[in-house]
């Protein structure tokens, strides 16, 4: 990832500042700071027309300072200011009982549970399909194109109908939402695992053959461990997309609870700040989930002798 080809790396011990710049935290903080600044600028810019309108309707005199202050404190802004969002998140997480329906963590938990269920089913399904594809020529040839085609169906758009139909055949509660997640998450797993199961080199397979190993032995002692790195990489993608599926799945089930419901309710009642806080909670949840899979990956890989 050398940026320039024309300067040789220098190998002197670097001062603390340089070291910090080459770590991750400081760059993220600085970029984050810049983004916040831009965000504030846009808050003023996007909310100003409405605010000026309001001043004029009320006939108040106003200064630019007033405008800046007021655009950041609107009740239903076009774009809420960062501190409004933070305040809302704080209020709806730390400010309420954890079990209360007004607590964002409560909703995150609801979403999380169907995310995880969908993710687990999706991963299992993906792995099973990949096993079939790797071991059966007919499956390999016939299923793979349709697996790709399946992802071009706008499942997010038909999710409401799917949920209702699933309800109609007696599936209700967590499962229908989870199945939307499953539909989205099995795909990266199949693709990754087919690649992974095929990653052993020909001579490694031959080696197993010289031992007269059975299919199951070859699978468990060679293909499976060889595919594990691929599994984790796909699971990272799958868990993030699972979350999207769970949120979408929450919309039509009566938007009862969960982050999707918060998004929706926020939209119905014009509560922009609530939408943004739900959005951020969702993204944070995704980050945490991906992080957890990453930790699992590191742990398993360490046990499997991965170079640190």
């Amino acid at each position: 990832m050398t940026a320039t080809t024309d300067t040789a790396p220098t190998r002197t011990t670097m001062p603390i500042f340089r070291r910090a710049m080459e770590g991750k935290t400081l760059p993220i903080l600085i970029v984050l700071g810049v983004i916040l600044l831009i965000w504030y600028a846009f808050t003023v810019y996007l909310n100003a027309p409405w605010q000026i309108d309001a001043y004029e309707r009320a006939g108040t005199e106003w200064t630019v300072a007033d405008l800046v202050r007021d655009t950041m404190a609107q009740e239903r802004p076009v774009l809420p200011s960062p501190h409004q969002v933070v305040a809302e998140i704080w209020k709806t997480t730390a400010g309420t009982r954890l079990t209360s329906k007004r607590n964002l963590f409560y909703h995150a938990w609801i979403t999380l549970s169907s995310t995880l269920l969908g993710f687990v089913i999706g991963t299992a399904l993906g792995v099973l399909l990949a096993i079939g594809i790797v071991h059966n020529r007919a499956m390999d040839k016939s299923v793979m194109p349709w697996v790709i085609a399946s992802q071009t169906i706008p499942i997010l758009a038909v999710a409401p109908m799917i949920i209702v139909v699933l309800n109609a055949i007696g599936l209700s509660g967590l499962l229908p939402k989870a199945l939307i997640s499953t539909y989205l998450s099995f795909f990266p797993v199949v693709v990754g695992m087919v690649k992974g199961f095929r990653s052993p080199e020909a001579f490694q397979l031959d080696l197993m053959r010289t031992y007269n190993a059975s299919g199951a032995q070859t699978f468990w002692k060679l293909r499976w461990p060889a595919a594990l790195p691929y599994l984790f990489t796909s699971m990272k993608v799958a868990v993030a997309i699972s979350l999207v599926g769970a949120i979408v799945g929450e919309l039509p089930t009566g938007a009862v609870s969960g982050l999707g419901a918060r998004l929706l309710a926020g939209s119905y009642y014009g509560q922009t700040v609530q939408i943004w806080s739900a959005l951020f909670m969702a993204a944070a949840l995704a980050a945490v989930l991906v992080g957890v899979v990453g930790i699992g990956q590191r742990m398993v890989m360490a046990r499997m002798g991965e170079k640190p």
Binding site: D206, Y211, N212, Q217, G305
Partner: protein, 274 residues
């Protein structure tokens, strides 16, 4: 092409003359998109118990293919071949041979110990026996003390020794080695050559060995099979007059150089431009 027809014939092996591999009129043709590739044609060869036979020849001449046929990894399309008097498939099912590939090919997720235990697990050895054998074979290749290391923590030469240990761990009398030292540097290679000779002398195994290196072939073998490509044929079989005890500097002796010269001539004759 061959200066001395007298030593070209198949010589009886120094030990008892019990054949381990017998190929007669063996041929193998691969069907590819660009038409058939004749990898082996009309190969007659017998390897007797206790021999160390090297296969040498230009790239693509069918050395690997021949070893793979013995190992039942490829099916011949002509002629016949017996391994320990059985078909290669039966021999494979009886786990008649150990195979060492060019790359060490240790599984990176297993420790050295676990790698060597792999064939034993598959063949259903008991835990205690696995332990004992792993210990013994790692000792044999001078890797005691490295049991718990992962492959990447070892040098290339050590990895290659571990892979040999893996092929030795179960008691196959026949060892098939396909350029096992091809990727190593000369000094390490010399070292492993010495150890391999020593091991062969001690265990009395039969070894089929593919190499690209003339000195290696001459240094190790009791018999050198020179092959030529398109189609892969045996052009020369040279019986080594070297004694069983071979210090490394035997390689500077006139007999050694003479055989090396003969092998080189044989090779050159069969070698087109690449």
């Amino acid at each position: 092409m061959n200066a001395n027809p007298a030593i070209r014939q198949e010589a009886p092996s120094p030990q008892t003359s019990q054949p381990v591999v017998e190929a007669k009129g063996l041929g193998l043709t691969f069907e590819t998109n660009d038409g058939p590739v004749h990898a082996l044609a009309d190969v007659d060869l017998t390897i007797n118990k206790g021999e160390f036979v090297s296969f040498i020849g230009p790239s693509g001449c069918g050395k690997t293919t021949f070893l793979r046929v013995i190992a039942d990894l490829e099916q011949p399309t002509a002629g016949e071949i017996l391994v320990n008097g059985m078909t290669p498939e039966e021999a494979r099912r009886k786990r008649a041979y150990g195979y060492v590939f060019q790359a060490a090919g240790l599984f990176p997720w297993r420790t050295i110990e676990q790698n060597v235990a792999l064939p034993l697990e598959i063949m259903g050895y008991s835990k205690a026996e696995r332990k004992e054998r792993v210990h013994r074979t790692l000792d044999l290749v001078n890797l005691a003390g490295f049991e718990k290391k992962f492959p990447w923590q070892l040098s290339g030469g050590m990895q290659q020794r571990a892979s040999i240990a893996r092929a030795l761990a179960f008691d196959a009398d026949l060892l098939l080695m396909d350029e096992p030292f091809g990727a190593l540097d000369e000094i390490v290679r010399d070292h492993l050559n010495e150890q391999l000779l020593d091991l062969w002398a001690r265990t009395g195994k039969t070894i089929g060995f593919v190499t690209h290196s003339i000195p290696e072939a001459v240094y190790l073998s009791t018999r050198i099979v020179v092959m030529s490509p398109r189609p892969g044929r045996v052009t020369d079989v040279i019986v080594s007059p070297l004694p069983k005890e071979r210090p490394l500097d035997i390689r500077e002796s006139p007999e050694f150089l003479e055989i090396a010269h003969r092998v080189r001539e044989g090779l050159r004759a069969g070698h087109g431009d690449d």
